[in-house]
C-alpha cells in the first residue's frame, strides 16, 4: 500500500491552521470567527491522528486526544454561540468591532 507521506499531511494541517488563523483575524462576523476556530481545532486533530499513526502505530493516545478535542469543540461552540446570542441581544449586532466595551 502506497502510503501518503507524513509531511504531506502536515502541510495540509498547517494550511488548515493558517486558514483558520486568517479567518479569525479578518472576519468581523462572530459566527465566521467561531468557524475559523473550528478549522484551527481540526488542523490540530489531523496532526494528532497523523503523528499517532505514523510515529507510534502501536499506541492510541493521539486518537483519544482527538476525540476529546471534538467533544470540547462541541461544548465550546455551544458556549460561544450562547455568548454571541447575548451580545446580539445587547448590541443588535454580531459584528465583533461593536463589542469593545472592555477598553481602557
Amino acid at each position: 500500500m502506497n502510503q501518503v507521506p507524513l509531511i504531506h499531511i502536515l502541510f495540509v494541517s498547517t494550511a488548515l491552521f493558517f486558514i483558520g488563523m486568517y479567518g479569525l483575524f479578518t472576519r468581523r462576523n462572530m459566527i465566521m470567527m467561531l468557524m475559523s476556530v473550528e478549522l484551527i481545532l481540526n488542523s490540530v486533530n489531523i496532526n494528532f491522528v497523523a503523528f499517532n499513526k505514523y510515529l507510534y502505530p502501536e499506541k492510541l493516545e493521539g486518537v483519544f486526544f482527538t476525540l476529546f478535542i471534538i467533544a470540547i469543540a462541541a461544548a465550546e461552540a455551544a458556549v460561544a454561540i450562547a455568548i454571541i446570542i447575548n451580545l446580539y441581544r445587547n448590541l443588535r449586532s454580531i459584528d465583533v468591532e461593536t463589542a469593545d466595551e472592555m477598553k481602557f
Partner: protein, 668 residues
C-alpha cells in the same frame, strides 16, 4: 514623707476639675442655667478646704524647732523611667504652696461670684465656667506641685486655659489674635523652661524640688559630680552649666510672668472677659513665674550671675511697664502694664538674694500675696466700669463717682494700696521689697523708688480720669460717645441709668470682700510665716526707710491730681513738652514692632520662605514627579487595551510565534 493630715488638700484642685468635667460635658444644655452656681459652689468648697488647711498648717504645722517643714502629700508614680527616676504626681505642702493655694482659690472664688453678674446672659455661660474651673484646677495643681516636671505639666495646662479664656469671644478677630500671641510667646518661653528642666535633671537624676535644692544647693553634691561624668557640671560659654539651667528656667518664668522682653502678650490678653483678666492676667497665673523662681530660691541665691539677671530684668520690666502705663488710654491696658510692673517688683526682690540677704524672698512673696488682692480688686472694679460704660477707653469715662459710689471707694482703696500709701497692704510689701533692694544694690533701689512714684502717678491718672475729671451725672451713651455739655444733664441720662440698673449684688460682694482684704492683709506678720528656710523671721515694722517710697508716691498722686482731676489742657502740654519720650512710650517703645520685624522680615524671609520653597518644590516635587511619571507612562501604553477581541488574538498569536521562534533557536 506622705502625711495623711493634709491629704484633704487633694480636694482643693480636684473640685474645680470636677466642675470643669461636669460643665464641659453638660454645661451647654443640661445645666446651662445652673452652671455658674455649680462652678461657684465647687470653688467655694475648694476655698474652704484650702483655708482650713492653711489655718491648720500655719497654726499647728511648725515642727519642734519652730520651723515650717515641707510635707509631701500623695505619692503617685506616674511615669516611671527606671529605678529611681520617675515623674511623680505629688502634692507638696509647705508655706508658700499653702499660701498660694489659699490665694488662688480665694481669688478664683471672688471671680466666680463676680462673673455670676458680669457674664449673665452670655451665650456660652456654661463654657465660660468650665474654662474657669479648668484654670483653677491647673493653677492649684501648679502651686501644689512637688516636682518640677509636674509643675511644667500644670504650667502648660494653665497656658492652655489662659488661651481658651483670652479667646473666649472667638468671633472677634482681635481676641483670636491676642490668644494666639499669648500662646506663642509663652510657649516660646516654655521651651527655655523645658531645656532648663532637662539640664537640672541631668545633673541630679531627680525632679523633686527638695532633692534638686539639696543636691545643687550649697554643700550638695550632684550625682554627676560623684560619678565624675566628664563635663557634666562643667562650664559652658564661661558660665556654670547649672547657672545655664537656672537661667533657662527663669526664661520660662519670665515668659509666663510677662517680664521684658517677653511681656508683649500680656496687654493684648486683655481681650478676654474682664473677670478673667482679674483672675489670670493679674492675680494668679502671671505670678507663676515668680512662684517658680521662689521655689528654687536657694539655687538662684547661690548662682550670682542668674541672680543679677533676675534683678536687672525685674527692675527694668517694672520701670518700662510703668513708663508705658503713663501714656496708655485703655483702662485694662493700664492695669495690665501695672501688673507687669508689680511682677517686676516681685522678681527683682527675688534677685536680691545673691548677697546673702534673704529678706527679698519674704518681701516678694508678701507682695505677691497683697498684689493678688488689690490687683483683682482693680480689675473687678474695671469690670464694673466697663459694664456700665460699655467702653474700655478712658476718654469715654469721667465723673463716675456718683454713679458708682461703691466701685469708686473700692477703686480708691486699691489705688492707694498699689501706690504704697500706709496703712494699705501694698505699702508694707513694697516697702519690704525696696528695703531689700537698698541692702543689695543702690541703683536698683533708686529705679524701684522712681517706679513706685510712677506707679502712684499712673494709677491716680486712671482714678481721676475715670471718677473725677468731669462733673458727676454725665451719662455716656451706649456707643461711648460722650455728652460734653457740662451744664445741662444729658437728656438720655435717665433712660441710660434705668437701662443699666444698679450693679447686681454678685458683682458688689466680691468688691467689698477684696477691699476689706486689701486694707487689712498688710498687717499680717508675713515674715513670721514665710521665709526661705521655713524658720520664722523677726518682724521688722516699717521704719524710717518707709519715708522715701511714701513721699514719692504722694508726689506722684499730687502730679496726677494736678493734671487730671479737672478737665484742662495741662496733660496735652505735658505730652508736648516730652513729645519724644511720650510718643515713644505711647507706642510701647516699639517692642511689638521689633518683634514683628524680627519674625516677619528676618525669620519668615530668612528661614520660613526658603523652607517653604524646599518643601513645595523639592519634597513635594519628588512625589508629584513620581505620580506624573506613572500617569504619563500609563497614558502612553493604554492604547493596547483596545477592547477589540481580534487585537488581543493578534497579540496572543504574535507572542506565541515569538516564543516558538525563541525556543527553536535555543534548542536547536
Amino acid at each position: 514623707m506622705p502625711n495623711a493630715a493634709y491629704l484633704i488638700i487633694v480636694l482643693v484642685p480636684l473640685l474645680p476639675l470636677l466642675g470643669f468635667v461636669i460643665l464641659g460635658l453638660f454645661g451647654r444644655k443640661v445645666v446651662k442655667n445652673y452652671s455658674g452656681g455649680l462652678g461657684t459652689a465647687l470653688v467655694f468648697f475648694s476655698t474652704c478646704i484650702a483655708m482650713w488647711v492653711g489655718y491648720d498648717y500655719f497654726a499647728t504645722g511648725a515642727g519642734p524647732d519652730g520651723a515650717y517643714h515641707a510635707f509631701k502629700v500623695l505619692n503617685i508614680h506616674w511615669l516611671s523611667f527606671g529605678p529611681g527616676f520617675s515623674i511623680d504626681m505629688d502634692l507638696l505642702v509647705d508655706p508658700i504652696s499653702v499660701m498660694m493655694a489659699v490665694v488662688v482659690s480665694f481669688i478664683s472664688l471672688m471671680v466666680h461670684i463676680f462673673s455670676l453678674g458680669y457674664m449673665k446672659g452670655e451665650q456660652r455661660y456654661g463654657t465660660y465656667y468650665a474654662y474657669l474651673g479648668l484654670f483653677t484646677f491647673s493653677m492649684l495643681g501648679l502651686v501644689l506641685s512637688a516636682n518640677i516636671f509636674e509643675m511644667y505639666i500644670f504650667w502648660e495646662l494653665v497656658g492652655c486655659s489662659s488661651y481658651l479664656l483670652i479667646g473666649f469671644y472667638y468671633d472677634r478677630p482681635s481676641a483670636v489674635a491676642a490668644a494666639k500671641k499669648a500662646f506663642v510667646v509663652t510657649r516660646f518661653a516654655d521651651l527655655g523652661f523645658l531645656i532648663g528642666i532637662l539640664i537640672l535633671s541631668f545633673q541630679t537624676k531627680t525632679l523633686g524640688f527638695g532633692e534638686l535644692i539639696q543636691m545643687l544647693g550649697p554643700g550638695g553634691q550632684s550625682i554627676a559630680d560623684g560619678l565624675g561624668v566628664p563635663g557634666a557640671r562643667g562650664v559652658f560659654l564661661g558660665f556654670p552649666v547649672v547657672s545655664w539651667g537656672l537661667a533657662l528656667i527663669f526664661v520660662g518664668g519670665a515668659g509666663k510672668s510677662a517680664l521684658f522682653p517677653l511681656h508683649v502678650w500680656l496687654p493684648d490678653a486683655m481681650e478676654g472677659p474682664t473677670p478673667v483678666s482679674a483672675l489670670i492676667h493679674a492675680a494668679t497665673m502671671v505670678v507663676a513665674g515668680v512662684y517658680l523662681v521662689a521655689r528654687l530660691y536657694i539655687l538662684y541665691a547661690n548662682a550670682v550671675d542668674v541672680s543679677q539677671l533676675i534683678l536687672y530684668v525685674g527692675v527694668f520690666s517694672a520701670f518700662l511697664a510703668a513708663l508705658i502705663a503713663c501714656t496708655q488710654s485703655d483702662i485694662k491696658r493700664i492695669l495690665a502694664y501695672s501688673t507687669m510692673s508689680q511682677i517686676g517688683y516681685m522678681m527683682f526682690a527675688l534677685g536680691t538674694g545673691s548677697s546673702g540677704n534673704t529678706s527679698g524672698y519674704t518681701a516678694s512673696m508678701f507682695h505677691l500675696f497683697t498684689h493678688a488682692f488689690f490687683k483683682a480688686l482693680l480689675f473687678l472694679c474695671a469690670g464694673v466700669i466697663i459694664h456700665r460704660v460699655h467702653s474700655n477707653e478712658m476718654k469715654d469715662m469721667g465723673g463716675l463717682r456718683k454713679q458708682l459710689p461703691l466701685t469708686h471707694v473700692c477703686f480708691l482703696i486699691a489705688c492707694l494700696a498699689i501706690s504704697g500709701i500706709p496703712p494699705f497692704s501694698g505699702f508694707f510689701s513694697k516697702e519690704e521689697i525696696l528695703s531689700a533692694a537698698w541692702q543689695t544694690n543702690k541703683f536698683v533701689y533708686g529705679l524701684g523708688l522712681f517706679t513706685s512714684g510712677l506707679t502712684a502717678f499712673y494709677m491716680f491718672r486712671l482714678y481721676f480720669s475715670v471718677f473725677w475729671r468731669r462733673a458727676p451725672g454725665i451719662a455716656t451713651s451706649h456707643h461711648g460717645a460722650t455728652q460734653l455739655n457740662h451744664g445741662a444733664i444729658a437728656p438720655n441720662h435717665g433712660a441710660t441709668a434705668a437701662h443699666h440698673g444698679s450693679t447686681p449684688l454678685s458683682m458688689r460682694l466680691p468688691l467689698v470682700i477684696l477691699a476689706v482684704c486689701t486694707v487689712f492683709t498688710g498687717f499680717i506678720p508675713f515674715s513670721h510665716y514665710i521665709t526661705f528656710d521655713g524658720r520664722p523671721g523677726e518682724t521688722v515694722g516699717p521704719g524710717l526707710n518707709a519715708i522715701p517710697p511714701v513721699a514719692t508716691a504722694l508726689l506722684g498722686i499730687g502730679m496726677a491730681a494736678w493734671l487730671y482731676k479737672k478737665e484742662n489742657s495741662r496733660p496735652q502740654q505735658a505730652a508736648e513738652a516730652f513729645r519724644g519720650l511720650y510718643s515713644f512710650a505711647r507706642h510701647k517703645f516699639y517692642i511689638d514692632e521689633v518683634y514683628l520685624f524680627v519674625t516677619k522680615k528676618i525669620i519668615f524671609n530668612g528661614i520660613g520662605r526658603p523652607a517653604a520653597w524646599i518643601d513645595k518644590h523639592i519634597v513635594d516635587g519628588l512625589m508629584n514627579g513620581l505620580a506624573k511619571g506613572t500617569a504619563a507612562v500609563s497614558a502612553s501604553i493604554k492604547g493596547f487595551q483596545s477592547g477589540k477581541v481580534q487585537d488581543y488574538a493578534w497579540f496572543f498569536f504574535i507572542g506565541i510565534a515569538g516564543l516558538t521562534v525563541l525556543f527553536i533557536y535555543i534548542y536547536t
